[in-house]
Amino acid sequence: MKTAPEILQVLQAQFPEKILKSEMGVLDPWARVEAGSIVEVCSFMKSDLNLSFDTLACLSGVDFKGLKGETERLEVVYHLFSMKQRHKFVLKVELPRDNPSIGTVEGIWAIANWHEREAFDMFGIRFEGHSDLRRILCPDDWEGYPLRKDYEQPETYRGMPVRPVKQFVEMANEGLPVGTNPFKA
């Protein structure tokens, strides 16, 4: 069991230039890692006996767009956890919004395979070296990346309307005989 500052110390000692930023006083202390070296850092964190982060609890993409005081960017957030040591740590990686790409940690934690597919599906982040980078939740031929803040929902998908054609209330406002008041009597 190590506290977050201790983990950060170990990381800073190992990768002095790769840890770009860190914050320890928050609910879940995190460190920002240089995008190119995430695989290296992760495999160290797994294999180092003092850290031994043997599981990836969560991998999330976040689209920082339209947020005051934040640069527009994509973030990949790794929530790491160690079953052996029972401590946790958060790694973050900053990516550009257009053409984001980062190395895969699939080889380190097997579950990253599906998590990365989801991040690819939702944010369009390419994970280089991923064995099977397909969309996972959306259909294979879906266009756009739904969880990006500037995502526009398409009107149709393969000729089928994506949204309901018209809500009942819109019909009613147009004067169509829709809707009743069942409590009138």
Partner: protein
């Protein structure tokens, strides 16, 4: 969607999305050689309804009905996880009555969820009667919930900072009565199903999930405990005052065949119901007084920041990664779904098994597609 070229006698069998035992709309592409399955490719997303996008467009209390609809079998546990995460973000500390009531509803819901899981598992294996016996008991829990919060399945009960209702008068006695009726049912189910030789033959020794593999795939909950890892967030990272309750964490023992088999996972759930009864008994005994809506904020507006809150739902570790930008709507809500990770390991553990075993493995990892696809 490419079909790999293969030769010989192999056949592609499309199991799902409409299939009686894929627990919803899961589609598995099986590459079979006769009855033996060589390769499994799960296709998910048939129930994807953009939970995470929805959550960005409603305010914090408005997310709770959506969380209920993720794992609709264990809604109480889902909304509890969300409420706890937001409370952590806002720094709200609820009073003891709220904590105790949350434990009560969460454990009742855990029993209900495990009953459903066990019942449908029995049905997957081909025994229909245990399924309805389990449902009979589950209905009693749902009645209790309906009495408490007005809904049978999607409760919207755990609010940020409190609960929607206090329990009605007489709830404690009714719950005790249910527990008294329910305890013999577990023994009966064990006799009827768990220790039936055919059931053991079908499930023990099938779908072996080793400890290493489970951790690498971040499999959590009963599935992980079935592999012999004593890991329960209620003990390891307690919330809602779980540390003050006395209960055990059942783990798989490999009683019949190798450790981590379907039977082990199944039986962990059976024993967890007994442990839940233990917790319930203690919680009902000590139920403190208090106002359940004391700390409910008028306007839920967490400060800028982020939190990863995790709770132990009946299916495992449910994580909410919430990023707040200080506005009334969450900036980003990401769900770490326990079913998601459990299904990811399915192709690995059921390779080389028979078609009938695939059904047994799917049932034993107890997935709910609503949560998996979000």
């Amino acid at each position: 969607m490419q079909v790999e070229a293969f030769e010989g006698e192999e056949m592609i069998l499309n199991m799902g999305p409409q299939h009686p035992s894929t627990h919803g709309v899961l589609r598995l592409e099986l590459q079979t050689d006769g009855e033996v399955v060589q390769k499994i490719t799960p296709h998910i997303g048939y129930l994807h309804r953009c939970f995470e996008k929805h959550a960005e467009n409603v305010d914090y209390p408005g997310v709770i009905p959506y969380t209920d609809r993720m794992d609709y079998i264990a809604s109480m546990n889902n909304s509890l996880g969300y409420a706890l995460a937001v409370e952590k973000l806002m720094g709200i500390e609820v009073n003891d009555r709220v904590k105790a009531l949350r434990v009560i509803v969460a454990e009742l819901n855990r029993i209900a969820s495990h009953l459903l899981s066990i019942g449908t598992y029995a049905m997957d294996i081909g025994a229909f009667t245990p399924f309805l016996h389990c449902f009979r008991e589950r209905e009693k829990i749902l009645d209790l919930f309906e009495w408490t919060c007005g809904a049978r399945l999607l409760y919207n009960y755990n609010w940020v900072g409190g609960l929607s209702h206090d329990i009605p008068e007489g709830f404690v006695d009714k719950t005790r009565q249910f527990m008294a009726e329910f305890e013999p049912v577990i023994a009966e189910q064990n006799e009827l199903l768990s220790f039936n030789k055919i059931f053991i033959e079908r499930t023990a020794g099938v779908g072996i999930l080793g400890e290493e593999l489970a951790i690498s795939y971040n499999v959590t909950g009963p599935n992980l405990r079935g592999s012999g890892v004593s890991w329960d967030l209620r003990k390891a990272d307690p919330y809602c005052g779980y540390e003050t309750y006395d209960f055990n964490v059942p783990v798989g023992q490999g009683k019949f065949g190798p450790l981590g088999s379907c039977w082990d996972r199944y039986y962990v759930r059976v024993r967890e119901m007994e442990e839940s009864l233990k917790i319930l008994r203690q919680a009902l005994d000590r139920l403190p007084d208090g106002d359940v809506q004391e700390k409910v904020p008028k306007k839920v507006k967490p400060p800028k920041g982020e939190v990863y809150g995790r709770t132990e739902t009946p299916r495992g570790e449910l994580g909410y990664y919430i990023v707040s930008d200080g506005s009334p709507n969450p900036f980003r809500v990401k769900i770490k779904s326990p079913c998601f990770t459990a299904l990811a390991v399915l192709p690995v553990i059921s390779k080389g098994e028979m078609v009938a075993d695939i059904i047994a493995v799917i049932g034993s990892i107890d997935i709910v597609m609503g949560e998996l696809d979000r």
